[in-house]
């Protein structure tokens, strides 16, 4: 199959089917409703289940139920919807069930707006729901990468028995780009007989599997959380993904940016290069685990004067950038958070001003 022109939202739906997921439960919300529209047509064709829940809270527990039974299952939503699902996500993480969530972010807080935003960084990487859990967070910068990440998300969710979330923005969902679908999903044999409540008939162990999240004994709960932590540490070791850009140059400024925003930065870096100004970029493809070492190394290059986190939020990822840079260089933030995506020209101007400043950058700058 060659390249086809496809809207991000539709491509995400198709990628899930090709990953062997035949269960999609969701509640519509702009800017990602086309996923539901597409799957309401496609899933019946392939013998799958499309179900519109009565609310996002209900959807999250439908996901929990299907996942606990060992079914591949996923949902998509946008910021306020993910807030409603967060309770269920915490339960799913606690019960160690695999499931895939997609958040096509819109501006917040509250109902906010429907234009591109990256304001759910904290929600995805630091919690959202309650308790000591983490999600594996992937951030595509285009439709092709969204497809690849969706297809990778299912085996990862199963390997770690943990929810995976894909964090896109309205532009990734609404834009059409050429896509090529990988033919088959290669994944290891499922481990679900060890944990899924899929009936005793085929179970080799003869031991019933029980899915639960209430653990009242303090020692047992502590053990449970230590086990979860061990998984998150394993993710940090094995699952970090990022893309370096122009890091071979002697750059004076280093950008850290992801998703749609990183593409604008790439254009800005190319244009700056033509003017003889070198800027490098680390583009995190996973936001948890975060490419801490790559950023620390890139920031430590002798030519590098300043590190700038460029994001469509009021400055969320910048905290992880600061943590990664570990004080080796000044760290700045640049961004917008109303839905207007900054232009390459605005990024160029911002980078120039950060690099020309002689005083140490101790205070975060902001733009309108």
């Amino acid at each position: 199959m060659g390249k086809v022109l496809m809207k991000g939202n539709e491509a995400i739906g198709e990628a899930a089917i090709r990953a062997g997921c035949l269960n999609y439960f969701a509640y519509p919300i702009t800017p990602q409703s086309e996923v539901a529209e597409y799957l309401s047509r496609r899933l019946p064709e392939v013998g799958g289940v499309f179900l519109q829940g009565e609310s996002e809270v209900a959807v999250s527990y439908m996901i929990f139920g299907a996942a606990a039974c060992g079914e591949r299952v996923f949902t998509t939503s946008s910021s306020p919807g993910i807030s409603l699902m967060s309770e269920g996500i915490s339960y799913i993480a606690a019960a160690q069930c695999p499931a895939v969530f997609v958040n096509i972010m819109r501006g917040g807080p509250g109902l906010g707006g429907i234009l591109p935003s990256q304001a759910d960084y904290f929600q995805a990487t630091k919690g959202g729901g309650h308790g000591d859990y983490r999600l594996l967070v992937m951030a595509p910068a285009g439709v092709q990468e969204a497809v690849e990440m969706v297809m990778r998300a299912f085996p990862l969710a199963e390997e770690y028995r943990n929810p995976v979330i894909i964090l896109g923005d309205g532009l990734i969902g609404q834009m059409m780009e050429p896509v090529e679908f990988p033919d088959h999903l290669s994944s290891k044999p499922s481990n679900k007989d060890e944990w899924a409540t899929n009936g005793m008939a085929t179970r080799k162990s003869g031991r019933p599997n029980i899915v639960r999240t209430l653990i009242l004994d303090p020692n047992t709960l502590n053990e449970h959380n230590l086990h979860l932590k061990e998984k998150y540490e394993r993710m940090k070791r094995d699952e970090v993904r990022y893309e370096p850009y122009n890091l071979e140059a002697d750059y004076r400024g280093l950008i850290v940016s992801y998703g749609t925003m990183s593409r604008v930065c790439r254009s800005a870096i190319d244009a700056l290069k033509e003017q003889g100004v070198e800027v490098g970029m680390v583009r995190p493809q996973t936001l948890f685990p975060f490419p801490e070492k790559a950023i620390e190394e890139a920031a430590s290059k002798e030519s590098c004067e300043v590190v700038v986190s460029i994001e469509m939020s009021m400055g969320q990822m910048v905290e992880d950038v600061e943590r990664s840079v570990r004080g080796r260089r000044p760290v700045e933030w640049y961004g917008t958070c109303g839905g207007d995506v900054p232009t390459p020209e605005e990024i160029m101007e911002a980078m120039k001003s950060f690099m020309s400043s002689e005083s140490p950058h101790l205070v975060h700058s902001s733009t309108g």
């Binding site: 834009m175 059409m176 232009t343």
Partner: protein
């Protein structure tokens, strides 16, 4: 080399569709392409616009403030986007609905009464294809033959519309040829 085309008009004029056909033609010619619609809260009859970015290199920012070309299907679109077009670009003005030109001296302007032409062919709905064809013939952003193939493919499921739209494309091309004489 990167080319950007802004299609703009009001809802119902087939803005998104003509942009999609152009994006498809660019893909057929081996270019990287991004089709970026406006999806803000618009009311019925309000403005609809869509940017097509095409490039022989991977596209960086899909968000473009200053496109190279503009296809303006109604007056508010021309007023809003004509000042943003880069010098040297093509501005197609739907003269059926827009009483004047862009006022830009540094662009190649094409005034085409696409609604009247489409109505003569049998349906005003094909006005977007008249405009698309006239624009492509003038700007040459993709090969005309590739465009025709993509129009046929787009309407493959609606066979009764193929001949209408092919006629619309032919009228657009002929008119552009006459204009440039």
């Amino acid at each position: 080399m990167q080319t950007e085309v802004m299609f703009a008009g009001f809802g119902g004029q087939g803005i998104l569709l003509s942009a999609k056909i152009l994006a498809h033609a660019a893909l057929e010619q081996g270019l990287d392409v991004a089709w970026v619609p406006s999806y803000g809260p618009e009311m019925r009859g309000g403005t609809a616009y869509c940017m097509v970015v095409m490039s022989d290199l991977p596209i960086g920012s899909p968000v473009i403030r200053n496109p190279l070309h503009l296809v303006a299907m109604n007056l508010p679109s021309l007023e809003k986007f004509a000042p943003t077009v880069k010098p040297g670009g093509v501005i197609l003005v739907n003269s059926s609905l827009i009483p004047h030109g862009s006022g830009r001296g540094d662009v190649r302007e094409l005034l085409v009464p696409v609604n009247e032409i489409a109505i003569k062919l049998g349906s005003v709905k094909s006005a977007n294809i008249v405009a698309l064809s006239a624009f492509v013939s003038r700007s040459k952003v993709v090969d005309y033959d590739t465009l025709i193939r993509c129009i046929q493919e787009e309407f493959a499921q609606k066979k009764d519309l193929i001949s209408l739209n092919l006629k619309a494309a032919e009228e657009g091309r002929k008119l552009t040829y006459l204009c440039s004489l």
